[in-house]
Amino acid sequence: MSKLNVAIYWGAACGGCDVAILDIHEKVLNVKEACNFWLWPVAMDFKYKDVEALADGFLDLTLFSGAVRNTENEHIAHLLRKKSKVLVAFGSCAHTGGIPALANFYRKEDILRRVYEECPSNDNPNKVRPQTVHRFPEGECEIPALYDWVKSLDQVVKVDYYVPGCPPVPERIWEVLSAVVSGAKLPPPGSVIGAGEKALCDTCERKRTDEKAIKEFKRIATTIPDPTVCFLDQGLICMGPVTRSGCGNQCTVASNMPCRGCYGQPEGTQDQGAKMVAAIGAALDAKEPEAIDKALDSLPDPAGYFYRFSMSSSLLERRKA
């Protein structure tokens, strides 16, 4: 069988998806036997020019991690789309915006002012800010301007598949890679692959106690959770009911920490955060509006919990004013 032509690229990402790919460990050697790489900036010295020189559709598979934050991200997204038969939005940021999309709660101006003018270690009396074009004595140099908000990959190009997770767990990555390498029939384009269809709760071994257990919300800062009991039943926000399974319950079971939703919403859910509002409503032990308000008052920053990883693709998307 001929080798697959593969590109791995990072847009607005932390590099964690690349490390997760390396975390298939010994199987990297299998991948090496099955694939020719044409771009992988963290590990190899191939360049955009090489990609530009490829025939359209030459790449069998491109894994694109990271969100789209500026014109450069978008430019490379378009380039790789053109060159790839199968383009995968790889990881939470490409899938739904991820942590970088928490910036969508703020205006770009707020971010620039904080970083360059307000931070207490700054020594910047003239309020200098980075400019996209700067004229040195010898000539001009440019840097790209930021977009006003962070986008998911499918907000700029057509995406064939989504591999969720921050980062995707190596076991699922290997399943996806071996399926592609073996030529197995993939699900219809647009599908989420490398994850379960059910909610995380359906795979969690923590014990449920009562359907209407929440009287008030607690915070992990001031609570030592019972390691065997459902977090929500203990009043601790856990995104398990509205998050896709597949992560191996690394947070909820292996680490004794509640889920924050990085695997995105399960099949059939339109908006992870809105669904969580409904899930909370169902779990509250309160009927009267006053009691409900009181319970909700004990929950700070609901949007920051419910849309921790999904602002770009959510119905909210970003701060609009």
């Binding site: 964690g16 090496k32 590990a43 010295d45 703020y106 904080r114 400019q131 004595p137 920053d301």
Partner: protein
């Protein structure tokens, strides 16, 4: 007009851009280094419950998420005025050693290794980790893979998850370790010590015994005389997790030794309009632009500076290597490429320290958390990230909701030192009348690669998507070459 392109520059975390201006005669007139983006964690941490910060900030960098997790966890402890119990403190450090193993192995073998194992001028199709595996064989290749894997497996056994960690909670960690997990960790850590010794031997065989390489390491292109920063324990030995930040000057004399909460008295950040990345400097000397030497505020924060800033290592094998290192290169050492050597000595220390901690009976204590009782307010946490001293500073309201956040990140410390290193390498390596080959370009890259820079960390920004390119501009402003690796 000839144009050569390198686009993108690779084998680093994140991205940047170099512009070299040449005179008509082909001499370097000036070199500028730009970082093209920022992400703004300082802003979007605002409004989040402070205990969520250790779960958010690891996404600053996927290569060193535990550094941010640890600095953040310590800052949150300080915000609540709570001290974790001894077992939790040791478990955190053990977890952190796992990341040091993963990260230093990844840099030594995958990011910088190709320059030495394959050679700085090797063809690019082979100048990468898979090329190294082909060259050294599957047996050694598998060893390297196992070594890095153990780093992550140690983290998973201790803290449940390596990437991105969720282990630190205010006043401790999320769960104790079982006897079985401890045994696993100890077994891996013991093997890691052997693998680290093997790595040092490899460095010795490939670099130290190779005159051509040593001429490069000690040559003029890669020297930088600046102050040195590093976290030290109460005996002034290198410590990654805890202690005080010690700064020694260009002669090796102690300039400052400060606790995390005192960082603002010691460092400040300069802003330039041409780059998104700020330039930290020592307040004692002030910002003196791109100049090195005793009177400049420029410093480095890296494996090399940590060794320079300390009086020794806290484990026996690493201490022996520390002594050999300085007996060879002199102290303080200003050879940028010696950072690779310092890095593998640190790797050995991390492995030895992991063994020590894993054999400490106290880590099996179920007492891994103290609940905060004080009203939260303000706190600073500092650890040594693999790429330099890492400072997280949070202020909260009385409910522990973040109102202000400030971050001075490992690589950011080195922005000025990296910029000047690139300038000096370019000036030394580009000679008029001689072609600027791909090998020369790669050797300019080696000046920053030694720092293991993580520009995604540094700008809390978004790596890789912007090309690093070298543009040569004539004195009349005309673009001569845009050099991208070709």
């Amino acid at each position: 007009m000839k144009t050569i392109t390198i686009d993108p520059i690779t084998r680093l975390e994140g991205h940047g851009k170099i512009t070299i201006f040449l005179s008509d005669e082909g001499e370097v007139k000036n070199t500028y280094f730009q970082i093209p983006e920022l992400r703004g964690f300082e802003k979007f941490l605002e409004g989040r419950p402070v205990e969520e910060a250790p779960r958010i900030v690891p996404r600053i960098c996927g290569v060193c998420p535990a550094c941010h997790h640890m600095a953040s966890g310590k800052a949150v402890d300080a915000v609540y005025g709570v001290t974790p119990p001894p077992a939790a403190r040791k478990l955190r450090e053990l977890f952190f050693m796992g990341e040091y193993i993963h990260s230093h192995v990844a840099h030594f073998y995958a990011l910088s290794g190709p320059d030495f194992v394959m050679g700085p001028g090797a063809e690019k199709a082979k100048r990468h980790i898979l090329g190294i595996v082909d060259k050294v064989g599957l047996e050694i290749g598998s060893k390297v893979i196992t070594f890095r894997k153990y780093g992550h497996e140690i983290m998973k056994a201790v803290g449940g998850k390596c990437q991105h960690p969720v282990y630190n909670v205010p006043g401790g960690v999320s769960r104790p370790i079982t006897a079985e997990q401890r045994t696993q960790v100890e077994k891996m850590a013991v093997e890691c010590v052997e693998l680290a010794k093997f790595t040092i031997k490899l460095f010795e065989d490939i670099v130290l015994k190779n005159k051509a390489y040593m001429d490069i390491v000690t040559g003029p292109a890669y020297q930088l005389k600046v102050h040195n920063m590093g976290l030290v324990d109460d005996k002034n030995r290198v410590n990654f997790y805890d202690g005080k930040v010690r700064v020694v000057d260009t002669t090796g004399k102690e300039l400052a030794k400060y606790a995390p909460a005192e960082y603002l008295q010691n460092v400040a950040e300069h802003v330039e309009p041409y780059t998104y990345l700020k330039f930290p400097y020592l307040k004692k000397f002030g910002w003196k632009g791109m100049s090195e030497g005793q009177e400049s505020g420029m410093y480095r924060a890296s494996p090399l500076s940590r060794l320079n800033a300390a009086d020794g290592m806290a484990t026996p094998l690493a201490q022996a290597e520390y002594e050999r290192f300085f007996a060879t290169v002199g102290k303080p050492c200003n050879l940028t490429l010696a950072t690779h050597w310092a890095r593998v000595i640190e790797l050995l220390y991390a492995c030895e320290r992991a063994v020590e901690l894993s054999q400490d009976p106290e880590i099996l204590s179920p007492d891994v958390r103290i609940l905060p009782t004080r009203t939260p307010h303000d706190g600073v946490g500092i650890v040594e990230a693999q790429r330099g001293t890492l400072t997280h500073h949070y202020t909260t309201d009385e409910n522990g909701i973040i109102t202000k956040a400030n971050l001075i990140v490992g690589t950011t410390n080195n922005n000025a030192a990296i910029t000047l290193s690139i300038q000096k390498a370019a000036a030394a390596l580009i000679q008029k009348g001689k072609p600027v080959t791909e090998e020369v370009l790669n050797m300019i890259e080696m000046a920053f690669r030694a720092f293991d820079p993580c520009f995604s960390c540094a700008t809390h920004s978004l790596p890789g998507h912007f090309p690093m390119e070298v543009t040569f501009v004539q004195s009349d402003g005309e673009v001569l070459d845009i050099l991208r690796r070709s």
